[in-house]
Symmetry: C2
């Protein structure tokens, strides 16, 4: 499993519109092959910042399968207009978790 | 639930030592009241960068209960020597997740 980690800054004042459009956009993302789990969190200290965590079976499921698909264009068309700058995106691999029987443990 | 989001840069070359000491440190963190779940991930594009995600019942469980306890000093004494700079720490609140029956959905 690979974790896509994206920090998305949204134009201040556009948070509700972003969240409404995200609700539609996430169904596009969720239907992409290899997409296992999606979570969106909103910043406490920075309420215009969102943390998107997406679990992918492989990195290529994200970078090739999704990013190079028509679905990505749809996803970006829905939520991109609310972005304040380009999201910072990188990937992580799970090392350990607690409780130890957590399914992301490895 | 509040998510502590910490980006930890480790001194290049100290990754294995950090991971070994983290294995001990996480038991200290896990025993702190209100600590629900801990996950550590290692960067793919930046292998000296780690993403620590900690679910807390409340923000104060982290900032007061843990940060102002002797446990925090122990935690930092174990892993702090491997840090390359001060970790960036902030907090998020879950908005939505998919699959929709995910327990972090709200």
């Amino acid at each position: 499993m690979f974790l896509e980690h994206a920090l998305i800054n949204v134009t201040p004042g556009a948070e509700s519109a972003f969240e409404a459009d995200y609700a539609q956009a996430k169904t596009v993302l969720a239907s992409s092959p290899g997409c296992l789990r999606i979570q969106l969190h909103r910043g406490v200290e920075h309420p215009s910042r969102y943390l998107l965590l997406v679990e992918w079976q492989t990195i290529d499921d994200h970078l090739v399968g999704f990013r190079q698909s028509a679905s990505f264009a749809k996803w970006r068309a829905l939520i991109g207009p609310h972005f304040d700058g380009t999201p910072e995106v990188d990937h992580y691999q799970p090392l350990s978790s607690m409780p130890p029987n957590d399914d992301s443990d490895s």
